[in-house]
């Protein structure tokens, strides 16, 4: 009898597991996923843009060679899975990465996918493709180490690198790295994108909507589960969040829900499932070190010492964001400096008054003081997320005899102004495509990068960039990365103020949707997402 009871109890205990397994297998097909979009994407061509306004809706149209597993929140080298590249292998010295490509895949217009398309895509990025060019090429710097792409028949492509770069494959797994068709022009890809992905492009109506429909011939049999995806573009945040609360939308735009708004959503739509995650977008300062007074390293250091990072976080995100260096801090960030190391960087110490006292001394040495204050223009974009921290910064600068004046710059003028170095101090935002040092260091701090806004150039440090990039031992690489990150902060290359957190919410009937927690650019492929309603 006792044995029987035990058996019964065991079966009872396993029942939820068994039922859970059934539920996991019982994905329902059908339905249109309704998502709101925050603004009009500049185009549908992912390779020409550096905004998730484009990546979020259009990542579903394409395939990569490899992709970060979309069911895992923390993306890393260990979560990279095959996409169009069925398998891959490195040569012995890690300078050649060869992909065996999936066979029988067709583009949405019926043309066959071949290795030539892979070569064409990266030739386009490298500026080697004859008769076609990208209007804008924001990720050219990602592939500075790529010598060429070679093909061997229709189903094998090899990336030939100039030097070993183990994390090169992580770049290919990003939402920013789709494979483009050779036979479609870059101009057409901006307006009528053709991919091999789980959803076909139907229509993109400016400022209204983007419609995608299920790709019935998708190579991953049985997927996607959804019949289509509709993005409704709603520029008014109040209207779109109200729409989500009222159930008009299944999913919010990625990390569109700020911390104060999250409270409203939780109160008014208690069933909604919200994930508050780091966006891997940092607020930082750009300082024009080519012109006086900031050509004086002591003044730059004094400015770093006066920043009270926790005050920014407390005021703007109710204490729920993170302090870090250029790499996203742990635990979500894979490469961020540990807190004890971070505290040794000037300005990161917890005793703010002590830091400021040190800052004042440096300013006095430079000839400034209570009777001779330094007037500075703090430039930023005329957008709330830029303006608000700029105002707080001006307050912090007062403590070290700097009188800041806010200069708001209309968006169309911002990058042109920064490129001309027509600013003294700027409040800036930096989004990171992949949580990997190769992306962060080369894109933002390499001497010849177009997105190195301040023009910071340290050849010795750049050698360290290469060293960490070639390092195969991950622990050794991590130590090098911390060393570089610390040096960047000490040099005031682009002082990081804080790393933002925000939420993405979905309705309870949206299943198997995972919010990526260490990048806002790679988690939008939804062939596995389904609707339980």
């Amino acid at each position: 009898m006792r044995i029987r009871l035990r058996a019964l109890a065991a079966v009872g205990a396993m029942l939820p597991l068994i039922m859970g397994a059934d539920a996991a297998l019982a994905q329902k097909s059908g339905g249109i996923l309704k998502v709101y979009h925050r603004d009009n994407p500049p185009s549908a061509s992912i390779h020409e843009e550096a905004t998730n306004s484009t990546v979020m809706p259009f990542m579903n149209v394409y395939n990569n060679l490899v992709i970060f597993d979309q069911t895992v929140a923390r993306q890393s080298m260990d979560t990279i899975i095959p996409d169009l590249g069925e398998s891959w292998s490195w040569n012995d010295d890690k300078t050649e990465l060869t992909f065996k490509l999936r066979e029988g895949v067709t583009w949405h217009d019926g043309e066959p996918f071949t290795a030539e398309d892979v070569k064409c895509t990266w030739d386009l990025i490298l500026g080697k493709k004859e008769g076609a060019r990208l209007r804008k090429n924001p990720r050219r710097i990602w592939y500075h180490n790529l010598e060429e792409v070679t093909t061997n028949g229709d189903h094998e492509a090899t990336f030939v690198l100039k030097r070993p770069q183990p994390s090169f494959i992580a770049l290919l797994a990003s939402g920013y790295s789709p494979v483009y068709p050779c036979h479609v022009s870059p101009a057409d890809m901006r307006t009528k994108p053709v991919g091999t992905g789980p959803f076909k492009f139907v229509e993109f109506k400016q400022n209204e909507y983007i419609k995608l429909e299920k790709n019935e011939d998708y190579w991953d049999e049985g997927k996607p589960y959804l019949d289509g995806i509709e993005f409704t573009i709603i520029s008014s945040r109040s209207t779109r969040v109200l729409g989500f609360i009222n159930g008009e939308f299944d999913l919010t735009y990625s990390t569109d829900i700020t911390i104060p708004l999250l409270k409203d959503v939780n109160n008014q739509a208690p069933d909604a499932v919200c994930s508050l995650v780091p966006t891997n977008v940092s607020r930082n300062l750009i300082v024009n070190s080519d012109a006086p007074p900031f050509d004086d390293p002591n003044i730059r250091k004094a400015m770093m010492l006066t920043i009270d990072r926790q005050a920014f976080i407390d005021i703007l995100s109710e204490g729920k964001s993170d302090i870090g260096g250029v790499m996203l801090p742990p635990p979500e960030g894979l490469w961020g400096m540990p807190p004890e190391m971070l505290e040794t960087v000037p300005g990161y110490g917890k005793d703010i008054e002590k830091n400021r006292e040190e800052g004042r001394k440096l300013m006095e040495e430079a000839g400034y003081g209570p009777d001779k204050r330094l007037p500075v223009k703090v430039s930023t974009r005329n957008i709330e997320i830029y303006r608000d921290p700029a105002v707080i910064l001006i307050d912090h600068l007062k403590h070290i005899y700097i009188d800041g004046e806010l200069e708001v710059v209309e968006t169309p003028l911002w990058h042109a102004k920064v490129a001309r170095k027509d600013y003294m101090v700027g409040m800036n935002l930096t989004g990171v495509g992949v949580d990997d040092p190769d992306v962060v260091f080369y894109e933002n701090f390499a001497c010849d990068s177009e997105r190195n806004y301040t023009g910071y150039c340290n050849k010795e440090l750049e050698e360290l960039f290469d060293k960490q990039s070639a390092e195969t031992d991950m622990e050794a690489r991590k130590k090098l990365v911390w060393e570089i990150d610390k040096k960047l902060q000490e040099d005031g290359a682009r002082p990081i103020i804080w790393h933002e957190r925000a939420a993405t919410c979905h309705q309870p009937w949206v299943k198997d949707y995972t919010v990526a927690e260490n990048s806002s650019y790679n988690g939008f492929r939804w062939e596995h997402v389904w609707l339980d309603k």
Binding site: E49, T191, Y209, G243, E410
Partner: protein, 315 residues
């Protein structure tokens, strides 16, 4: 009358030419151009790529050549291509015009059917409780910003009915469509109706103090006949003028209302196009609005004669 119409037509042509020059030049005086904006989404500006793109879009040519190209294209019905969507301007603008037109007409109807009668009631019941209430309502109409009113309406609908009256691309019936437009039209028309109401009231009060009204009363005409037959007709003249002007100003209110209710009309589209420095869209759309405003004023001028027989268009 005929010579007046011909003169007005010539004047309209001259006005529109002036407008076209003004629109074209002003747009190019605004700092930043489409190429700067296109590069903004890439996060950097590459001077060489920027120059190539300017050449591709024809922005490197002298401004007079660009103007001439636009005007000759416009005369031939070729409005060019949007810089942003790379689609023909007309295919971008055309579907949005009826949406805004419906909204504007409904808002105008709302402002007239509420503004005029309430203005008359307020005047004939001057200094009564009804007058006081109506004056408070009209003052709030003038003071409440339409974006705020729009948001409050949205929230109330969600709270009370669990329904959100934002734009639906495919309404199931005419009545649903009418309802969909009525709510934002009311939000934007509330301000106009308040203005019309206040103007009708003051105009009526002025007219009702005229000698001919006293004469009509002394002849034994009923109060109803005096108010609505003798007074209202003459009081309407300034009201018609203001309605004509309001029709043009309505576009300003519609921009906000279209944004709040997410209506894909031409007003919001214009603002987005300005933000993107999408010159072909902006210059053609503003020109279209200029044509509508000029014609509306022309029609209002003709209506004067119908309303007031003393006005003659002869030499």
């Amino acid at each position: 009358m005929v010579s007046y119409i011909i003169r007005r037509f010539l004047l309209m042509a001259l006005t529109l030419f002036g407008m076209s020059v003004l629109i074209f030049v002003l747009l190019r005086l605004v700092p930043g151009n489409i190429v700067d904006l296109l590069f903004d989404s890439a996060g950097f500006v590459n001077p060489a790529d920027k120059a190539l793109l300017e050449e591709e879009l024809g922005l490197d040519r002298p401004i007079i050549v660009q103007y001439f190209d636009w005007i000759t294209g416009l005369m031939q019905g070729d409005l060019g291509y949007s810089y942003v969507s790379e689609q023909p301007v007309w295919t971008e603008i055309a579907p949005r015009i009826p949406i805004t037109a419906k909204l504007a007409v409904l808002a105008l109807v709302f402002s007239i059917i509420f503004g005029v009668p309430l203005g008359v009631i307020s005047a004939v019941r001057q200094n009564t409780m009804t007058d006081y209430i109506l004056r408070v309502v009209s003052l709030s109409g003038l003071s409440l910003p339409s974006f705020w009113l729009g948001l409050i309406i949205l929230m109330l609908f969600v709270q009370w009915f669990g329904y959100m009256p934002i734009y639906d691309r495919a309404p199931e019936s005419f009545w649903i469509e009418l309802g969909m437009y009525m709510i934002p039209a009311a939000a934007v028309g509330f301000r106009s109706s308040a203005l019309v109401m206040r103007l009708t009231r003051s105009s009526m009060l002025e007219v009702m103090r005229q000698d001919y009204i006293r004469t009509a009363r002394s002849k034994g005409a009923s109060e109803r006949s005096v108010n609505y037959h003798h007074a209202l007709r003459n009081a309407l003249l300034p009201v018609v003028t203001i309605i004509g002007i309001e029709a043009a100003f309505l576009i300003g209110g519609l921009i906000v209302t279209e944004t709040v209710f997410n209506i894909p009309g031409v007003a919001r589209f214009l603002v987005e196009a300005i933000r993107w420095r999408d010159y072909p869209i902006v210059q053609n759309l503003v020109m279209l609005i200029a044509v509508v405003v000029v014609f509306t004023n022309f029609i209002v001028d003709l209506l004067y004669a119908a309303l007031d027989p003393r006005i003659k268009y002869s030499e």
